[in-house]
Symmetry: C2
Subunit: 340 residues, 2 copies
């Protein structure tokens, strides 16, 4: 991103017919968009969310409220247009593309999904690495390539990332534990709504995974391979692909932000292109946004995934671009400016 | 509003293909909409914001960063489509209607505004009442009638309220001081961005207004007349008109919520129809939302007015209606439900 364009944006924002700073976070978003697009005239109407699906071997430890088959059932619901992400994306004028990054079963040929399966779910990471380093790299590349192509070949201007995968708050907390160094219990939540007993199992599973695999915080691909997930690889890759394509990317909640964290650890400059859609209900999400130094746009108490937070926040990012371009300046409008 | 419909809504929300409660505040909004509309199939696509303008005699005390002529200059900008509210309302597919409730000057005949002027700005309330009781009642009725007609004759389904009026955070803080009993300095803010000296003048002006006029918290019309404003009367009336028409109404920030507070004090049942769009940057706004027991939907650090917060939140209210109607249930979709 180009800081000189951020400054040009602030100059315009400060001369618009309203009190200085009165649009709060929208102004920060607008200035960041200017730096990304090197322009004050930014169009973000063509919007796409990638909902990346994958299964997790650690599900067998009883860390989730739902059985693993729900991942593929939800993928079916997505392609039928029945699920939360479909409803919220339609409302926001956003296209949705569902990607099989690593669902544990073969999905029927006639399902309208993008097929990038890197393996049939991860291995149970309490017993060894979730996947190989090569698989993690393959997932990253697949996610990046999908975004690069969507931007280049189809003209998408704003990208969102979302997830589907039973048990995937578990690897997300594990990734965060590695990068934050915080105690696992402090950054692990109830996911889809587990009871105290399952919560204890979840914390112990993550602690075991960290001790069995010893992922290195200096090597983000090592972290991704050992305690990550197939869809998390795709989500990280999508952020890298957006940065490489110079388009803004809005990540969803806890799982998508875990992917974004991997991306930014791999390529710190990718952070300039990243927006966090909302504050997830998962307790670790605040730690993620603090590490990334990015404020969530919304805080609606949501904890669903699928890209639902991104679907609600992307129109607000688009609004910020219009604020920058369309609100007239005091000079243009002939309104008295007192410099406040 | 009808609590039995709220229960029906919760039953559907809890049986949708997602974890229970995972859409957070959207679910609360959805349930409240069901109670308002007595339906689970709610259409809110036809949306209208009333931006009510008025001037304030107290401006002569130096409580604002801008001179009074800016009120009419901004009304001109609104009808040209140049201002923040125009940009954000267009983005959200929301119509805007600008109402002269009490601008201090005559606005040109050819300006496309709604003319409901109840007086040429209020009197300086540090020296006596801002307006007469009759004027306050006239303003309330005008605001209510505008909404009732927009719903009945034009089919608007979701109403927003916004304000324009130099110095109007001053009467808004005064209204809040009467109803909350809190110290004036604690619930008074910097408005459009005043310095320490102007802030002191503002606090003193409000304290003087309360002591000179002795508005009675038991008599909301007395409060509105003595320390309110013409546009605040219209904003309060709009909330009453929405409740009478059984349509949801989304109030903007500090000034519009002051109007909503008057409305709810007059008719407590109106609260069922009210949504607070966002948390204003004004420190008193949290006290208002606490009194109203309504959580702001957004918190973007905005402090602009005009209806800008309403314009960003109304699409989220509309999204909640679609969540309720369109997300399939476990039974409808054939997804495994574990009851979490």
């Amino acid at each position: 991103a180009d800081a000189s364009w951020e400054e040009k944006a602030w100059n315009r924002l400060k001369s618009q017919i309203r009190p200085r700073g009165s649009l709060g976070l929208l102004e920060n978003i607008a200035a960041r968009l200017a730096a990304i697009k090197r322009s004050l005239d930014i169009e973000l109407s063509k919007k796409l969310i990638f909902t990346m699906a994958g299964d997790h071997g650690v599900a067998e430890e009883g860390v989730s409220a739902y059985p693993q088959e729900v991942t593929s059932q939800m993928v079916f619901a997505f392609i039928q247009g029945w699920a939360s992400i479909n409803v919220l994306a339609r409302h926001g004028g956003i296209d949705v593309r569902v990607v099989d990054m690593g669902v544990a079963s073969d999905l029927p040929e006639d399902w309208n999904i993008v097929r990038k399966k890197i393996r049939y779910g991860t291995a149970n990471f309490t017993k060894g690495p979730a996947m190989t380093r090569e698989e993690a790299e393959k997932g990253l590349l697949a996610g990046a390539e999908l975004v690069v192509k969507a931007v280049k070949e189809e003209g998408y201007q704003l990208i969102g990332t979302g997830d589907m995968g039973i048990a995937n708050t578990t690897p997300s907390s594990a990734i965060l534990a590695v990068f934050s160094g915080r105690p696992v219990a402090e950054i692990t939540g109830r996911g889809t709504g587990i009871d105290d007993q399952a919560f204890q199992k979840k914390v112990q599973a993550i602690e075991r995974a960290l001790s069995v695999n010893s992922p290195s915080p200096e090597d983000p691909i090592d972290v991704l391979a050992k305690v990550g997930g197939c869809e998390i690889a795709g989500l990280a890759g999508a952020v890298l692909g957006a940065a490489a394509s110079k388009v803004p990317v809005v990540c969803d909640g806890f799982i998508a932000t875990a992917g974004a964290l991997i991306a930014v650890k791999l390529a710190p400059a990718a952070k300039d292109y990243l927006f966090i859609s909302h504050r997830s209900g998962e307790p670790g999400h605040k730690v993620m946004s603090d590490i990334l130094e990015l404020p969530p746009i919304l805080d609606l108490g949501m904890r669903l995934g699928e890209g639902t937070g991104a679907a609600l926040a992307m129109p607000i990012v688009e609004a910020a671009a219009k604020v920058l371009k369309e609100i007239k300046t005091f000079e243009e409008a002939g309104v008295t400016d007192t410099g406040h």
